[in-house]
């Protein structure tokens, strides 16, 4: 390894042998030394390579068994910085290249990491970067609100854009089609028949059996990345809290963690314990909601009634103790905005014990309901191989036996003191995803109990410090859907120049296209709910 350690080109870029050594250090004790030598962005080892090596680098990373965890570009003056976050055994590596002015092409990572397909299309649509060798040249997040040759994330593109008075529907997208009198094509959405987010699903069905499903997302693209430019840290935390409203705590924490990493600001201990309480409360609320909703989708009205009741009680406690049912804007740069009231310290353990006891009472009722079990067991099976190929996250991965959980594998404070163990199952069906979440309810209640026991009096916020120009940070948080990865970069005046939040849904949505195959169309709502991707968090 020492032979390659000096093998850095004069311009500061790594040669592939050197990169391979860094990749091999992931998950080994050598990783810390590598970070000290090569440099780091937050928890990730920084590995700059020349553009020509971008594809080879991905090939080397795939050969080492890395997961492709995020990809995004940044316009910096006339140049572009392109990033790919890789992970193995809880260690992260940030692969980076810089495209000189005038150069717009880069080898695609998709041939080595299928999960990179949509993120690369997202970058292509917003920045105009071309990924050579990408198997899919169709637009993704772009519909008809801006032109094929306009790129919102370029500096010369104004936030207001030049949209038409009425944006036309995106009719010409080339969906996969099938020929033959037996095959039905079923378009669904973007407006869905329920109180849910918009998106389009195109089914090809043979009788009732799903032959193919193609998702078309991007309907709720709101320009979040562009809107973030020029925001102050407080403003960015507010925006991050609205990337996906059901994950307001998770995204706000990831964004604040990234900003704090850039600015060298350490939140006080009490704030860290409170953040963990908030994110676990968010996990519990969403798990209760979805378990109830899955019961509803199987017409098991009793379950829907019970779990939606438990969720409502939980949200009312959030409002009573922390001032907001969904805990929006409770996490702020440098700490938290609200304290733990004395009333919560005394009442929360009792409320959690009551919930635990109801969950213990309800579980055998679900287990013994034959109509319920008949619908969830064996429905929507996701093969483990697909999880690895796509880089699926959270309960979608854990239900296939892959224990990806930031809290266990790359624990940040205060999880480094909590000893969280990822809950896994192996069947990969709707039931496995449901029961992983059921067990996570108990685990989250235990975590909150520990937080309450260990939290000490102290300040809630550390004073903000303006980071130097170009300071960047990375936030990695286990939201209720899985790993959230957020990158931020500051300008010289303390404002944001780049914000990229990667919701776990990015890698779970494509899994839905796979796990539905061979199931019947009427089971789609059930399968979809068992994954429950965020549209807003995906579309940005």
């Amino acid at each position: 390894m020492t032979a390659t350690r000096t093998a850095v080109k004069e311009d500061g870029f790594m040669v592939i042998d050197r990169l391979t050594a860094s990749l091999q250090s992931l998950g080994t004790p050598e990783f810390g030394n590598e970070k000290a030598q090569a440099g780091a962005v937050g928890p990730a080892l920084l590995c700059p390579v020349i553009p020509e090596d971008w594809g080879v680098a991905a090939e080397a990373a795939a050969a080492q068994g890395c997961r492709w965890a995020a990809g995004w570009g940044e316009a910096r003056g006339e140049s572009w910085v392109v990033n790919a976050l890789l992970e193995k055994s809880g260690d992260y590596l940030l692969l980076r290249t810089v495209l000189p002015p005038g150069r717009t092409g880069l080898p695609s990572h998709t041939p080595h990491f299928p999960g990179a397909a949509r993120p690369e299309r997202h970058t292509r649509d917003l920045l105009g970067l071309k990924f050579t060798g990408h198997p899919d040249d169709r637009r993704w997040v772009r519909h008809q609100a801006w032109g094929e040759r306009e790129f919102p994330l370029r500096p010369d593109f104004p936030l207001s854009g030049q949209p038409p008075a009425v944006t036309a529907p995106d009719r010409s997208y080339g969906f996969a089609s099938a020929h033959g009198p037996e095959v039905n094509e079923i378009p669904v959405g973007p407006v869905h028949a329920g109180i849910i987010e918009p998106g389009h699903f195109r089914f090809l069905a043979l009788g009732e059996t799903v032959l193919n499903l193609e998702e078309r997302l991007g309907y709720v693209h709101k320009g979040i990345e562009k809107l973030a430019e020029g925001r102050d840290p407080e403003g960015l935390a507010r925006l991050a809290g609205r990337v996906s409203g059901d994950t307001t705590v998770g995204h706000a924490w990831a964004a604040c963690q990234a900003m704090e990493c850039a600015a060298g600001v350490a939140p006080p201990e009490r704030a860290l314990w409170l953040r963990a309480i908030f994110i676990e409360r968010e996990r519990v609320a969403n798990h209760l909601n979805d378990i109830g909703a899955i019961c509803n989708d199987t017409a098991f009205a009793f379950g829907h009634y019970q779990f939606s009741r438990l969720r409502e009680l939980w949200l009312r406690d959030n409002l009573r103790w922390f001032g907001h049912r969904l805990l929006m804007d409770r996490i702020v740069p440098g700490g938290v905005a609200v304290d733990l009231p004395a009333e919560a310290t005394s009442a929360m353990p009792g409320a959690m014990a009551a919930l635990r006891s109801e969950l213990e009472e309800l579980k055998p009722i679900l287990d013994e309901s034959t109509i319920f079990q008949d619908r969830v067991v064996g429905a929507g099976v996701l093969p483990e191989r697909i999880v690895r190929e796509l880089g699926c996250l959270g309960y979608v991965a854990r239900a296939c036996g892959i224990g990806r959980d930031v809290r266990e594998r790359a624990p940040h404070a205060p999880y480094d003191r909590l000893g969280v163990k990822a809950v896994t199952r192996s069947d990969g069906d709707v039931a496995a995803r449901l029961y992983v979440r059921y067990e996570e309810l108990f685990a989250s209640l235990d975590i909150i109990d520990q937080c309450l026991q260990r939290i000490e009096p102290g300040p809630l916020r550390t004073a903000w410090r303006t980071p130097p120009a170009n300071a960047e940070g990375l936030g990695l948080v286990e939201g209720w859907r899985g790993e959230i990865a957020t990158h931020v970069r500051f300008d010289g005046s303390g404002s944001i120049v780049r914000f990229f939040p990667r919701d776990p849904s990015v890698f779970n949505w494509p899994a839905l296209e796979k796990l539905i195959l061979g199931n019947i169309v009427p089971d789609f709502p059930l399968c979809n709910k068992s994954v429950n991707g965020s549209y807003s968090g995906h579309d940005l």
Binding site: Y219, G245, R325, S536
Partner: protein, 169 residues
């Protein structure tokens, strides 16, 4: 089955009257709403909810109206699957430009007479997102709006109150 029946018996019906929540006016409005719905809508007010670009927080709270604590159906309010069955469009989000045509088509598919309720801060005035290359901002920039229920997100109680005031006037 015994466990299930036992749980049903022990939990009982938890549906609340709105009186004890916060606002004594709410109970009055609830009764009034029922009267208005009975009188003007033959006992049934149908709402089609459209997420036109929301972050999904508003959807969570609108969906909560169906939980056993609020049980808004008891007033004759139903969330329907098709705009053709709807009296009211309940629209959330800043209207994303990619949803503009779909929202307008939904509005056109809704039979007259119809009302549009803009729900949430983004629907009210654009919220955190405002007007930009991807967002039309407030629902009022795209459709004629009859009532606004602000809040980020509005609580279920806010939603009931807003709906009652729309329908009672």
């Amino acid at each position: 089955m015994n466990k299930l029946l036992g749980k049903i018996a022990r939990v009982g019906i938890v549906t609340e009257t709105f009186k004890p929540l916060t606002d004594p006016e709410l109970d009055r409005l609830g009764t009034e709403l029922k009267a208005v719905i009975d009188g003007r809508f033959a006992g049934s007010l149908a709402i089609r909810q459209v997420d036109a670009g929301s972050c999904n927080a508003c959807e969570l709270e609108i969906a909560a109206l169906g939980n056993p604590f609020y049980d808004i159906e008891r007033y004759g309010v139903h969330f329907v699957a098709s705009p053709r069955h709807a009296d009211v469009l309940m629209v959330t989000g800043p209207v994303s430009r990619h949803m503009q045509a779909a929202l307008q088509a939904t509005w056109e598919a809704t039979p007259e007479p119809k009302w549009v309720v803009a729900v949430g801060s983004c629907a009210a005035d654009g919220g955190e997102f405002g007007v930009n290359y991807a967002s039309c901002g407030a629902v009022g920039n795209v459709l004629p709006v009859d009532a606004v229920i602000p809040g980020c997100p509005p609580t279920p109680t806010d939603l009931v109150r807003g709906l009652l005031s729309l329908i009672s006037r």
